[in-house]
Amino acid sequence: MSETTTTTRSYIRSALTLIVVAALYEAAARSGYFAAALMPTLPAIAKTLFAGIADGSLIEHAAFTLGRVLAGFVLAVIVSIPLGILMARFKPVENFCLPLVSALMPIPSFALVPLFMLWFGIGDLTTVLIVFYAATFPLLFNTWSGVRAVNPLWLRAAGSMGADEGRLFWKVIIPGASPFIITGMRQSFLRAWIAVVGAEMIAASDWGLGWVIFDAKEFLNADVMLASLIVIGAIGYVFERLVFGSIEKATVLRWGMMRAAKG
């Protein structure tokens, strides 16, 4: 049996699984055992999904969610990459920040939602800050360990070849730490994506995919819920695979550093 037949067979099996599961779901939905409002049929979900995309409402909700998640994420990048580098390069900064970070990190971001709602009101500011909080720590930690993990031999070699501080930083430390930093950004974005949906549900403003799902519960619109779930999953997938995947390809994989980071 050749390698290609095995791969083809697993593709067929995967496709078959999905078809079987969809058929089972459809059968359960049509059987009438469950209320149609709670378990809509697949065509109903697809219809809602396309209607939402056609009249632009789902796209607008998605745009709001994306805006919030990007704002919080960019804020986290701006804060935690420099802070992580400072922590790794200067001992006093590390001594001061590390205990605080280790105490804050185990607090789930959602625990802060009610507090932030009191402080900053309902809406964009609270959501962005929750996303920021959720995204900061993985990136901070990865940047910190990445800079510390830069091979000291490279630093000494560059130093003895006459690199000054600035060149050392830009030409050795940053590229050396970049696999960690990119992994950190990936993790951060995943956290941010989880946080934005949750924050939108709890700190209900009036736009956003999280809000749509939560609002649909009130009216028993399970089809709307499932349609937005699909959109949320699709956006998360696109960012994870396409955006971060291509960043990785363009930087660390091309520089041949990824194996070192994974090993």
Binding site: R13, F96, S102, P108, A111, P114, I213
Partner: protein, 278 residues
């Protein structure tokens, strides 16, 4: 190695042990110092009255409500309910996740069947499922525990799967050549070989369960639970109660990490020499 270090510590001279105590004390002080600075800043801002005191209470008020709620048994009750919910949800995830993951690692057929489902469901943020679970299973404990279990199962599945696949082919072949049957192969080679990955998965799963649980408690309207405590306190502008609840959440989170997982790792994979203790 561990024993050698201990013997030195016991037989060491008095001077060495006092210096060691001083080092220890300095390390503790260094860890406390940042909290003192932040606490002082908080206190100054709270006393200056920049923000309304209801929204920005002083640390004494937070400590007072922490003590009051602890003595009256309200805070422990909330905390215990939350921990029970966390553990039951996580137990579901741990059992189902490792079984599915190991099956996927061992059998090509199981992998082909499960992988598409898992890779479709995993990237959707856990909380997005919450309203759906609430619709299907109603408000309350069942939804909360099932959702926590469902969401935290994914890291366990992925890591057990990778772990089983990462067991060295040569170990398997030499075990078979030495006459191991299927069961011995599984318990003596595959399971220990995959264990570092499985433990990592369990650790990630528990962290995920913990992050999601607080939010689920806010949405699922459970009668007791720290998430509910914090969320309910908002209605009455009880910021001090909220902060006391957040402090307990932080403590539980730290305890989970330090007491549960580092201990498990020390006893298993570190002792077997599969990963080095950091």
């Amino acid at each position: 190695m561990q024993d050698a270090v201990n013997t030195i510590a016991v037989t060491g001279t008095d001077g060495r042990s006092t210096r060691r105590a001083a080092d220890h004390l300095r390390a503790i002080l260094r860890n406390i110092f940042p909290f003192l600075v932040v606490g002082l800043l908080w206190e100054i801002v709270a006393r200056l009255g920049v923000f309304p005191p209801r929204l920005f209470p002083t640390l004494e008020e937070v400590a007072a409500s922490f003590v009051r709620l602890t003595v009256s048994g309200i805070l422990p009750h909330h905390a215990i309910e939350t921990v029970i919910r966390l553990l039951s949800g996580f137990a579901l995830a741990a059992i189902a996740g490792t079984v599915i993951g190991i099956l996927m690692g061992r059998s090509r057929r199981a992998e082909d069947i499960m992988l598409p489902l898992v890779s479709i469901c995993a990237p959707i943020p856990g909380l997005a499922y919450a309203p759906l679970f609430l619709l299907w299973f109603g408000l309350g404990n069942v939804s909360a525990v099932l959702l926590v279990g469902f969401v935290s199962a994914f890291p366990v599945i992925f890591n057990s799967w990778t772990g089983v696949k990462a067991v060295k082919e040569i170990w398997l072949r030499s075990a078979v050549a030495l006459g191991a049957d299927d069961r011995r192969l599984f318990t003596h080679v595959i399971l220990p070989g995959a264990l570092p990955y499985i433990l990592t998965g369990l650790r990630l799963g528990l962290a995920q369960a913990w992050r999601i649980l607080v939010a689920v408690e806010m949405l699922a309207a459970v009668p007791w639970g720290l998430g509910w405590l914090i969320f309910g306190a908002r209605e009455f502008l009880n910021t001090d109660v909220m902060l006391a609840g957040i402090a307990v959440i932080a403590l539980i989170g730290i305890a989970l990490e330090k007491l549960v997982f580092q201990k498990i790792e020390d006893y298993t994979v570190v002792r077997w020499g599969m990963v080095t203790a950091s």
